[in-house]
């Protein structure tokens, strides 16, 4: 019987990288087809394929780690490096949008009235819903830390409660932000103010939704006894991502909502 003489994980051949790549092809081409020929079929097909790929790929990772025991300490170390590198790449993604914001707001052109906020823009009061949103995300940072400690201490019920509370706070943020978007006195088409505001906060909101989904998967896994007090990297990765989302919001709040108002 063949046994490996190392602690690393040689994965089984998998079709998901291929289906994921095709999904990306279909989504991007579909976007172009939608713009030019007004048909959304290709883009929707791509999105469905992407969702199927993500579900099956991550289902397989759970099987390999939790059910087959392949996530040994060296393997887990690699997963940690991977998550940190991914979050770092996302930091650079947001850095670009902050660069765009500061480029336009530090030296406002004559077309804007030579001032920031530009002439004619009614900004949102940073001490109303945006401040509430800040409190909501900061609180969710506390509850996710509570969840982590509960998992480490083997407190099953508390872990479930605090994780559920974190997700609820995430949904509350999304709901409040959606209301703000609906009620805002300016749109994405309102010059560079509108562009920088909605693109930066919009991508942030998308990341809040992604983070909430990640935490929701962790909640399901916690309910199904997947996590042990010593080994729960999936949860740690979700918590890191969540803290990252929180920090991005703080920068958005200080720069765009407060300084930029």
């Amino acid at each position: 019987m063949a046994h490996q003489a190392h602690a690393y994980h040689m994965v089984d051949p998998s079709p998901w990288p291929l289906t994921g790549a095709i999904a990306a092809l279909l989504m991007t081409s579909g976007l172009a087809v939608w713009f030019h020929f007004h048909s959304t079929t290709l883009m929707i097909l791509g999105t469905i394929l992407l969702l199927l790929t993500m579900f099956q790929w991550w289902r397989d990772v759970v099987r390999e780690g939790t059910f087959q025991g392949h996530h040994t300490p060296p393997v887990q170390k690699g997963l940690r490096y991977g998550m940190i590198l991914f979050i770092t790449s996302e930091v650079f993604f947001f850095l670009g949008f902050f660069w765009a914001f500061y480029h336009s707001s530090l030296a406002p052109t004559p077309e804007l009235g030579g001032c920031w906020p530009p002439t004619g823009i009614t900004t949102l009061d940073p001490f109303e819903v945006p401040l509430l949103n800040t409190a909501v995300l900061l609180a969710s940072g506390v509850t996710v830390t509570w969840a982590h400690h509960s998992i480490m201490e083997g407190e099953r019920k508390q872990a479930i409660q605090s994780l559920a509370l974190t997700i609820a706070l995430g949904f509350y943020f999304t709901f409040l932000q959606a209301m703000e978007y609906y009620e805002a006195p300016f749109t994405i088409a309102d010059g560079v103010y509108g562009s920088t505001f909605f693109v930066a906060t919009g991508f942030h909101g998308l990341h809040v939704i992604i983070g909430s989904m990640f935490l929701a998967v962790c909640l399901l896994r916690q309910i199904h006894f997947h996590f042990t007090s010593e080994h729960h990297f999936g949860f740690e990765a979700a918590a890191w991502y969540w803290h990252f989302v929180d920090v991005v919001w703080l920068f958005l709040y200080i720069s765009i909502y407060w300084w930029g108002s």
């Binding site: 998998s14 079709p15 394929l49 790929t53 939790t66 059910f67 006894f225």
Partner: protein, 82 residues
């Protein structure tokens, strides 16, 4: 008479609470046994059984159809009709 009612209530409660408990039992050891069947040559994405195969076939069918469709749309877009 009251004892009867009390006993029936106890039985009803017992079967309800045990079915709830059955749903939340730790099934990880069973899953570990299922996925650690060695030397069957089945890759992880199919090792869960029939549902895996169905989902895989659906995904692959959409992939192949989608590839064909995108090539068709791109060729169509490359040769615009006057």
């Amino acid at each position: 008479m009251n004892r009867h009612i009390f006993e029936i209530q106890k039985v009803a409660l017992r079967s309800f609470s045990s079915s709830v408990r059955r749903q939340l039992d730790n099934k990880v050891p069973q899953k570990q046994k299922l996925f650690q069947v060695k030397n069957d040559g089945i890759p992880i994405h199919l090792k869960g059984g029939t549902a895996d195969a169905l989902l895989y076939r659906t995904t692959m069918a959409l992939t192949i159809l989608g590839t064909g469709y995108v090539v068709y749309e791109l060729v169509k877009a490359a040769f615009p009709k006057k």
